[in-house]
């Protein structure tokens, strides 16, 4: 069997599902793990029996990991909230994300270090989501003491966060405690955002900001809803698609400057990690970053690239960090779409035979249609289930919108680079960008007008 990793990650994920649906305690799971570990050791020389026990062992490790992630230490900030619920509390810590100003309030993640309730000051850890009134000028890593009420919010559970605080700043400290790499990523993000909003009009800038940096706070809800209806909203969030484009740009540029293969691998890997941090470390971006690094590594080591195995590595990487990501819709759609394209596209190609089409553009369109159809078939179930929307137009929309979105992203990055290195010609690129965005919106609006384009279930 060529793909042991795929089997291991499948067993691991099944274990996580089991632990999520059954209430088996940590002790019993640990007992099963030990039992199968001993059985594996016992049968180390018997190939088939060993492999069977190994799969079961990994299955129980998945369950055990989820149980462990669900267990919180009494020092976790959410444990204190049990007796500070809706009471004034004070927390000391640092800003752990880039603050966002939206709907006349500033929101950010706050990494707690100390918490104070009822005249007792505790040592604490864990992130909370903080809302401050107005536009507050804060940066990542800023050390603060905040005061306010803590609330529980269920939607934050799978992200390893439990509490929300409507706060006011009690004290600002001069120190910046943030990680250097993250600080660099956020600095670059701010710089790129400034360039986008300086050279483009409000709507194209908002769309480009969403496509390049994953920031949707300035995006009009009307545009967002129109893209949801045509099933092309994935281009407005940073996903594997954007990461692969970034990787392509970096490698092409490095090749242009005649940088050696080994050096360009390290540079590209570093820049991809920075891009991943810039865009908020979401599951699709982590998946794409890990897969891109695995692909480049395989190319460098002259090893065969297997997309299923690299997908499994990416999934293992994400789930080992937070097993609850398995129940995150972003994680599910990201992996399902990639796997359905990889699995269904060659089969659909055999069935529809696009290579028989002699006219090149028509063949290209047919191939695009098949890729889009594969992704649509794969993601149909989860989309209907989660979003209650059925959009047959998605298959056709993606044929036109995805290449256009690639072009917009590429021209967006070109705009950023020219604005940095040659600002005199940047307005020219900005005009091209605006034209492409207008084209994208018009195509989307046209497709939406077609009868039966989408149905709300």
């Amino acid at each position: 069997m060529k793909r042991p990793l795929v089997w291991f990650i499948s067993c691991f994920s099944l274990g996580i599902c089991l632990a999520n649906h059954l209430s088996i305690g940590f002790f019993w799971l640990q007992l099963f793990v030990l039992l199968f570990f001993i059985l594996c050791l016992w049968n180390i020389k018997r190939r088939i029996i060993f492999d069977g026990f190994l799969c079961i062992l990994i299955f129980f490790i998945g369950a055990l990991l989820l149980r462990n992630s669900q267990k919180l230490s009494p020092n976790h900030i959410s444990c204190y909230s049990r007796y500070s619920y809706k009471q004034f509390s004070m927390v000391k810590g640092m800003v752990n994300s880039l603050p966002i100003f939206k709907n006349s309030r500033t929101s950010f993640l706050f990494k707690t270090e100390e918490a104070q309730f009822n005249n007792l000051k505790f040592c604490s850890y864990g992130d909370i989501l903080v809302y401050l009134k107005g536009n507050v000028n804060l940066g990542y890593g800023q050390e603060l003491t905040l005061g306010g009420n803590l609330y529980r919010r269920r939607f934050l559970l799978n992200q390893d966060r439990y509490l929300v605080m409507n706060a006011r700043i009690i004290k600002l400290y001069p120190e910046n405690k943030g990680l250097i790499l993250k600080r660099l990523a956020f600095y670059l993000k701010k710089k790129i955002e400034n360039i986008i909003f300086k050279y483009l009009a409000a709507t194209p800038a908002a769309i480009l900001d969403a496509m390049v940096l994953g920031e949707r706070r300035t995006l009009s809800p009307l545009i967002n809803n129109a893209m949801i209806k045509t099933g092309t909203v994935h281009i407005l969030v940073v996903s594997g698609f954007n990461t692969s484009l970034v990787a392509l740009i970096i490698i092409s540029l490095l090749k242009l400057f005649r940088v050696s293969r080994r050096a360009s691998f390290y540079i590209a890997a570093f820049l991809l990690i920075i891009y991943c941090l810039m865009t908020g470390v979401s599951s699709p971006v982590v998946r794409a970053t890990v897969m891109a690094i695995v692909f480049m590594g395989a190319y460098l080591l002259k090893r065969e690239v297997d997309i299923y195995n690299s997908c499994a590595i990416a999934a293992g990487f994400i789930l080992a960090g937070n097993p609850r990501q398995l129940f995150n819709i972003g994680f599910q759609l990201s992996f399902i779409s990639v796997l359905s394209i990889v699995y269904l596209y060659p089969r659909l190609k055999i069935f529809f035979k696009p290579e028989l089409i002699k006219i090149k553009p028509a063949r290209f369109l047919m191939e695009g249609f098949l890729v889009s159809l594969s992704a649509w078939l794969g993601t149909l179930g989860p989309i209907v289930c989660y979003f209650k929307i059925f959009s047959p137009i998605t298959v056709i929309a993606n044929i036109f919108i995805v290449p256009l979105a690639s072009l917009i992203t590429l021209s967006g990055f070109t705009l950023v680079l020219t604005a940095i290195f040659c600002p005199a010609i940047a307005p020219l690129f900005a005009s091209t960008n605006e034209l492409l965005v207008v084209l994208l919106l018009n195509i989307n609006a046209f497709l939406l007008k077609i009868p039966g384009a989408s149905f709300n279930l």
């Binding site: 570990f37 594996c40 190939r47 060993f50 990994i58 100390e114 007792l120 000051k121 505790f122 040592c123």
Partner: protein
């Protein structure tokens, strides 16, 4: 099924044993941890609240004389209130040595 050699199987088992131990240790640490109280603010009984203290109370602290008490009150009037005991260091005459000497007599509320 997976065509692993015996040595590869040993490596996999070693890796998994490390992982299992790690999970167990992490779980046990969480289970047996106790909420660590850094400060009990009720323990301030007998101490002086820097934000409400008058000159007489401040002078009663060993290490604070008349002049220094005046400067503390002046600073408090100017800044509104003390947010942290360490704010005292900004007052002329309170060196690190003096601060260490007087800090245990004071609290902030």
């Amino acid at each position: 099924m997976f065509d692993f050699t015996v040595q590869e199987r040993r490596v996999i088992l070693f890796f998994l044993s490390m992982m299992i131990t790690g999970i167990a240790v992490s779980y046990l640490k969480k289970s047996h941890a106790r909420a660590e109280i850094l400060t009990d603010l009720y323990q301030n009984i007998g101490k002086i609240n820097l934000n409400t203290a008058d000159k007489a109370s401040l002078v009663s602290i060993p290490g604070i004389a008349d002049k220094l008490a005046d400067r503390i009150l002046e600073y408090r009037d100017k800044e509104g209130s003390f947010l942290d005991r360490e704010d005292l260091k900004q007052i002329k005459g309170i060196t690190n040595y003096r601060y260490e000497k007087i800090k245990d007599y004071l609290f902030i509320k």
